[in-house]
């Protein structure tokens, strides 16, 4: 195929993707129209390869008429592959700078927005347990995909990942043996159910749903990287509205509050680890 034809093909594909996303929204209510285009395109094409479908238009037919096919796409679009104590310094800084603040509260509500398969939720539960705070905390862990939440709720992760996670845990200031928190079973480990007694896993869509509570801490790390700038602004407003005064907000380490509409409403708690505090 010539370069010119190749380029026409891409344009056509972009139109088809826009139509698919419009259909997905109007039929099922899931709104990916303001997602960051490069990554969503990759994921759709990846799903198509897995479903052995050649064109986006044919895939649209499948997605709009078959709930199971749609659910598989939803999982494909919502899985972030993360790890426990991803970016250990974030958790270390959280221990040093946020935990002292939380100690002063009688109860603590934490919203983990876009929790995916739960690795970072269990990490936070472990941290809070070690700091003696877990009993007075409730963690609301939300994601758009039911299937992803089911996995998060299970708390089962591959044994092969534990070496890396143990390293992360230690760098994150872990106080015990990491293996104290799980039981190995063949190729998997299951995290102790006590870690999720105060975790509420629930469906929530950052794009279309509103605020549902007021929180002392909101973590939304590496979630908004999938959104375009307009949607990022919307979600920054939603998060601001959902934080109590002096509440803490945590982003991924390549995200920034700079240039967002709420930038001036926060103080930096830590600029490297992207922890902020709502001050006005």
């Amino acid at each position: 195929m010539s370069a010119a034809l190749q380029s026409d093909q891409t344009q056509l594909e972009d139109i088809e993707i826009a139509l698919l996303l419009e259909g997905l929204y109007r039929v099922y209510g899931f709104d990916f129209r303001d997602y960051s285009p490069a990554s969503i395109k990759r994921r759709i094409l990846e799903r198509m390869r897995a479903e052995k479908i050649a064109t986006v238009s044919a895939y649209q037919d499948c997605v709009l008429h078959d709930d199971a096919c749609m659910e598989r796409l939803l999982v494909g679009l919502s899985v972030h592959v993360t790890s426990m104590f991803r970016d250990p310094s974030f958790y270390l800084t959280f221990r040093q700078k946020v935990v002292p603040i939380l100690r002063t509260y009688p109860t603590v509500r934490i919203w983990h927005a876009g929790c995916s398969t739960g690795e970072e939720v269990y990490s936070m539960a472990i941290l809070l347990q070690e700091e003696g705070l877990y009993r007075k905390c409730v963690i609301y862990a939300t994601d758009i995909s039911r299937e992803v939440l089911r996995k998060a709720r299970e708390g089962i992760f591959p044994l092969a990942a534990m070496q890396e996670y143990t390293g992360n845990y230690m760098k994150a200031g872990g106080k015990h043996e990491f293996s104290d928190y799980y039981t190995a079973h063949y190729d998997n480990v299951i995290f102790h159910p006590a870690l999720k007694t105060n975790v509420v896993f629930s469906e929530h869509n950052l794009v279309t749903d509103g605020s549902f509570n007021e929180f002392h801490v909101i973590l939304c790390r590496n979630v908004m990287i999938y959104f375009n700038k307009a949607l990022q602004e919307r979600v920054h407003n939603l998060i601001y509205d959902s934080l109590s005064m002096f509440g803490v907000f945590g982003l991924g380490n390549k995200e920034s509050l700079k240039f967002t509409p709420r930038a001036d409403f926060y103080d930096k708690l830590d600029s490297r680890d992207k922890l902020y505090r709502k001050v006005r």
Binding site: A3, S36, A38, S39, I225, Y226, N253, K254, S256
Partner: protein
């Protein structure tokens, strides 16, 4: 053909190779240079290290950061780096071919946006990442440069790239930066809009 961006992919041996290529880029190099170096999760200081070997400003981009000419961008550890119309986008999708960042992900997204205006460069590496991405750059009419496998620290990636597509130049490591400088000189002030 006016070029608008240079994308570079490398893996094993890449750190030494980048220390040869980056310092030899002209101080007035007129295009953005985006580099994926496969790296472990414990490589926080790679950026500072490479900056010491590079006259152009070098940084790991933040999400949605605009792409500026005359700068070198290094894909941050544990993220894919993608090109979009108005800047960079990061992603924590699953590793591709065990790699995150993945060379293919960067190259394919660059071809999608800049089409025939991309220069793709594959340096030393022990796997096959980048071959598919380079083939896509070529299919869109971009320019493909590969380090000569004969002299490469690890020949896997260059060989896979050469097998995947008809590359435009196979060069010894030391000749790659001069080649890029020359390309760039012929294209003063080119921009995406042109």
């Amino acid at each position: 053909m006016a070029f608008e961006i240079v994308v570079v992919g490398t893996s094993y041996g890449g750190l030494a190779a980048l220390q040869v290529v980056l310092p030899a880029l002209a101080p007035d190099f007129g295009l953005p240079v985006v580099v994926v170096q496969h790296r472990g999760k414990d490589t926080d200081n790679l950026c500072e290290f490479l900056q010491r070997h590079c006259a152009l400003p070098l940084a790991e981009p933040n999400d949605k950061e605009a792409i500026a000419p005359g700068r070198v961008y290094l894909a941050p550890r544990d993220y894919h780096l993608l090109i979009e119309r108005d800047g960079f986008a990061l992603s924590t999708e699953a590793p591709v071919g065990y790699a995150r960042p993945s060379v293919n992900v960067l190259f394919e997204s660059a071809a999608d946006i800049y089409q025939g205006h991309v220069v793709g460069v594959i340096l030393t590496g022990a796997n096959a990442d980048g071959a598919r991405g380079l083939a896509k750059i070529k299919a869109y009419g971009g320019l493909c440069v590969v380090e000569d496998p004969a002299g490469a620290e690890s020949r896997g990636m260059p060989q896979a790239a050469i097998a995947a597509t008809k590359v435009d130049a196979i060069l010894p490591l030391r000749e790659i930066a001069p080649f890029l400088n020359q390309l760039c000189q012929h294209e003063p002030g080119s921009s995406y809009a042109s």
